[in-house]
């Protein structure tokens, strides 16, 4: 007997592209929903352009590594929704589905004739999650985002960096990852509500707006205390406070020192560890692990106020010690003594060297027909009865067109062939992949 899945018998019509939407539907698939990705090669964004195609492979629609990791657990239907026939087909699919999800800009689905009112006519209890940049209402609904723009406009970028320097920001689209997670929350809470009440709804998620509540305490500091974040010493890099600036909380947790990143042996690009002491006791334990050096016995370092004030000197001394040791052995020694320390880890470190992620099987291999066998990122949670898992590699584009058109929707094989001939299932002038030729046999 196969293990039950949390979303057994749930079908998702997935119009999403690029990253945030696909990252959302990845998790619906991992929970067992049947996720059907609607794709069209002429307007595809996510498979191409690819910067993650293995060096030995041609870059094409089926060879992006990041697309594979982002789109595991899904099926692909290639369909021209902007044709009358394609629209009719997708409506038949929606009629037997539970969730419609997309991350286009605000008017796209409506312009296709698939606005929420129309979706309701097709499937009255549909859960429709739109994941646009600015939402479907509000004067700037037509503005567009990528992760970095949502992060900039919402205040997230401003949180990151060293004082008196330009923002360092986030080195990736944090709000594509996190925007995707909000998409999952919207879909699951909408589904829960539907199961309890019988009613579907439109959930209008905005990537930019979803970023703002991640600045909560900073915003209350504005609305309650009138204190903004454009101020001396903010943001304080990796510290909880920048010495020589007003003593204010910086919205990461308690204001303590040490609280910084330190270079480790042998001094390479990612040879750093972070050390944080939340109390005088933790500081004294660190002093012991460092071998009770004379400098650390100074009265000025005995209290958190003193350590905050004299961070420059203290951090330089700590780094003179950390530079002598490898970041993993430092971590082990500190943690064994009850000190908060962990290594800065690159992607290579996480995949190859992190003993915890290895033990927890964070990266498990999965076979892909064009890419071969590669590790895929696993779920960060274990559900005892309905585990989330990566049970299917990402689909080749249009890989499941025949299964869905004939098997699920009940069209004849002749109709499939005519749909390929008239450009409904694939652009007539575009070369077909061998698996598409096969499905026409």
């Amino acid at each position: 007997m196969t293990q039950p899945r949390a979303l057994d018998n749930i079908r998702v019509v997935d119009f999403s592209w690029v990253r945030a939407g696909p990252w959302a539907t990845r998790w619906l698939g991992a929970f067992g929903a049947e996720v059907i990705k609607i794709e069209w090669p002429e307007s595809e964004r996510g498979r191409l352009p690819s910067t993650t195609t293995p060096q030995h492979l041609e870059s094409n629609l089926n060879t992006s590594g990041n697309f594979n990791d982002t789109n595991v657990n899904k099926k692909s239907l290639s369909l021209n929704v902007r044709s009358a026939r394609g629209l009719e087909i997708v409506k038949r699919l929606i009629a037997i589905s539970d969730i419609v999800i997309e991350n286009f800009s605000s008017r796209v689905l409506r312009n296709w004739g698939l606005g929420y009112e129309e979706l309701c006519r097709i499937k009255p209890d549909i859960v429709y999650v739109s994941m646009s940049g600015y939402g479907h209402t509000g004067r700037n609904h037509h503005y567009t985002t990528f992760g970095p723009v949502a992060q900039a406009v919402s205040g997230l970028t401003h949180l990151s960096g060293l004082p008196d320097q330009p923002p360092a920001g986030w080195g990736w689209s944090y709000m594509d990852d996190t925007g995707g997670l909000y998409g999952v929350m919207c879909a699951l809470s909408g589904l829960y509500h539907r199961n309890m009440t019988g009613r579907g709804q439109h959930i209008d998620l905005s990537q930019m707006v979803a970023s703002i509540p991640l600045n909560g305490p900073a915003l209350l500091d504005v609305t309650v205390n009138g204190r903004g974040s454009q101020r001396a010493g903010f943001p304080p890099g990796n510290r909880a406070h920048w010495p020589g600036t007003p003593l204010l909380n910086n919205y990461r947790g308690p204001t303590v020192a040490p609280h910084n990143a330190y270079r480790t042996h042998p001094g390479g690009y990612n040879d750093w560890c972070v050390i944080v002491c939340h109390s005088d006791d933790e500081w004294q334990r660190l002093v012991q692990v460092m071998g009770t050096p004379a400098w650390a016995a100074a009265e000025k370092f005995a209290t958190v106020a003193g350590r905050l004030e004299h961070q420059e000197e203290m951090d330089a001394q700590i780094e003179a010690w950390t530079i002598t040791e490898d970041k993993y052995s430092l971590t082990e020694r500190c943690q064994a003594a009850g000190i908060r320390a962990l290594p800065v880890q690159s992607a290579e470190d996480r995949v190859e060297h992190d003993p915890q992620l290895r033990e927890r099987q964070m990266y498990l291999p999965l076979e892909h027909p064009a890419l071969g066998c590669h590790k895929v990122q696993n779920a960060p949670f274990r559900l005892s009865q309905t585990p989330a898992s990566n049970h299917r590699s990402s689909p080749l584009i249009g890989e499941h067109t025949r299964d869905i058109i004939e098997g699920l929707l009940g069209y004849s094989h002749e109709e499939l062939r005519s749909g390929f001939a008239d450009g409904t299932f694939w652009p007539t002038k575009r070369a077909r992949f061998p698996y598409q030729e096969e499905m026409l046999q």
């Binding site: 018998n9 993650t52 195609t53 060096q55 990041n66 990791d69 209402t137 509000g138 004067r139 700037n140 567009t144 990528f146 970095p148 949502a150 900039a152 406009v153 919402s154 205040g155 970028t157 990151s160 330009p166 360092a168 920001g169 990736w172 909000y182 999952v184 929350m185 919207c186 509500h193 309890m196 709804q201 905005s206 979803a210 991640l214 900073a218 915003l219 209350l220 500091d221 504005v222 205390n225 204190r227 903004g228 454009q230 919205y251 990143a261 990612n270 943690q335 290594p343 800065v344 880890q345 992607a347 996480r350 992620l357 927890r360 990266y363 949670f381 559900l383 009865q385 309905t386 989330a388």
Partner: protein, 417 residues
């Protein structure tokens, strides 16, 4: 509409959580669940985190605690005592969800593990959200937001170009986002278990790891390594990449910055549109020269277009003006705003984003950031301000569990509540 119950209405969540899990409880509470926060007598340690109202430190004045605990009710309970354990088990017997962030092994040592709680409540969903999960060599390691940003890979991707700031350290973006990330994934896992329960009638146990959640949250960094063996470099204010990419962050006239994405987009069509945008302010320079309709010429002149023309254009205007002018013309650009700038945003006003939350003790309401998404049938909304310490002790222990007020006093005197 705004009075309608949220999507998670009717659910009772017991939250035994600190800074690691309080945001998850807020998400569930703002989505309509009845979240009962269980604090130790005297209040949870997060009440000691600033900033404080008017900078006066007090456990009822922490803005951080206020923010992360909206829509919850609050009780105090010392589960280290036998009476406390009994009351917790009684509450769990009728709860839908237990969310806990205790050290692995702690609740089992009190007889409050999932198997025991499930005996009285087969529908219970219990989520343990901990730094590293319930197993593995790092299970008992200490952590903090900064530590998770280091080990999770966030820091390895964020920082400065060597040309901007030689020898800069990797930078951990602020704001407590390691906790947010763990809470996002925990909320998803809990919701999936609840959806499943609507069909199966059965609860389950969830072991969620903040480290794994953070390790998952660096976009293509892992795929770049797995598929190409690349370890990415940090670049000021923009994406990590294997090599140095064109800059995207430009200083505006008012000293703040604009995020203007150009790299990889400089096609003849894009350059024409860019010329139109810059020309509105008479700053197009030579960008209208027909030579720029040749891709090779554009590529050759990328530095001139980016570092001279676009940089000068942005330097001549306030960041907000560049942002709106560019977006109106279809450019995916944005102003790099400090949080305080959001209060004036007209789009957010149109969406009714800012919420007034009553704080009767202050005699006024306070403006809070609202919802990520607008639900048409079951609103995501803040139901109430964060609870005071033990505010709902009588309501829950007496009103729901049937204790007398006398019994409540004895529990207080004995350090149970």
């Amino acid at each position: 509409m705004t009075d309608a119950p949220g999507p998670m209405a009717g659910l009772r969540v017991l939250e035994l959580a600190d800074e690691k899990g309080q945001f998850c409880g807020k998400l569930l509470g703002d989505l309509g669940a009845d979240v009962v926060k269980i604090e130790p007598p005297g209040g949870e340690a997060c009440r000691r985190i600033g900033p404080f109202v008017d900078d006066i430190p007090h456990p009822e004045r922490s803005l951080s605690f206020w923010y992360y605990n909206t829509s919850k009710r609050g009780i105090t309970l010392n589960v280290d005592t036998a009476d406390g354990r009994g009351l917790f088990a009684q509450l769990a017997a009728t709860a839908d969800v237990v969310l806990e962030t205790c050290c692995p092994g702690y609740l089992p040592s009190l007889g409050l593990d999932y198997a025991s709680l499930r005996e009285r409540n087969a529908r219970l969903v219990m989520c343990s959200l901990t730094p590293f999960g319930q197993t593995g060599p790092w299970r008992d390691y200490l952590s903090s937001d900064l530590l998770h940003m280091a080990a999770g890979g966030e820091m390895a991707s964020s920082g400065y170009d060597a040309a901007d700031l030689p020898d800069a350290p990797p930078i951990a973006p602020g704001g407590g986002n390691a906790w947010h990330t763990g809470c996002h994934y925990a909320a998803i896992a809990i919701m999936a278990a609840l959806v499943h329960r609507t069909v199966s009638g059965q609860g389950q146990y969830i072991d969620a790891s903040i480290h794994e959640a953070c390790a998952l949250t660096t976009e293509a960094a892992i795929a770049s390594y797995i598929y190409r063996g690349e370890v990415l470099r940090r670049q000021t204010g923009r994406h990590h990449a294997a090599g140095v990419t064109p800059r995207t962050q430009f200083r505006a006239k008012d000293g703040t910055y604009v995020c203007a994405l150009l790299g990889g987009r400089l096609t003849p069509k894009f350059v024409r549109e860019l010329a139109d945008l810059l020309d509105t302010y008479g700053m197009a320079g030579d960008l209208r020269d027909p030579k720029y309709q040749d891709q090779a010429v554009i590529t050759e002149n990328t530095s001139h277009i980016v570092d001279d023309l676009v940089a000068s254009f942005i330097a001549s205007l306030p960041a907000e003006e560049v942002y709106h002018a560019a977006q109106e013309r279809g450019f995916t650009w944005g102003a790099v705003r400090a949080p305080e700038a959001l209060l004036d945003d007209a789009h957010l006003r149109d969406r009714g984003f800012w919420k007034q939350v009553e704080h009767p003790e202050l005699g006024r309401s306070v403006t809070y950031p609202g919802e990520a998404a607008v639900y048409s049938d079951s609103p995501w909304r803040i139901a109430r301000r964060a609870p005071l310490i033990g505010e709902h002790n009588a309501e829950i222990f007496c009103g729901e569990l049937g204790l007398s007020l006398g019994a409540l006093s004895i529990l207080a005197e004995n350090g149970v509540i």
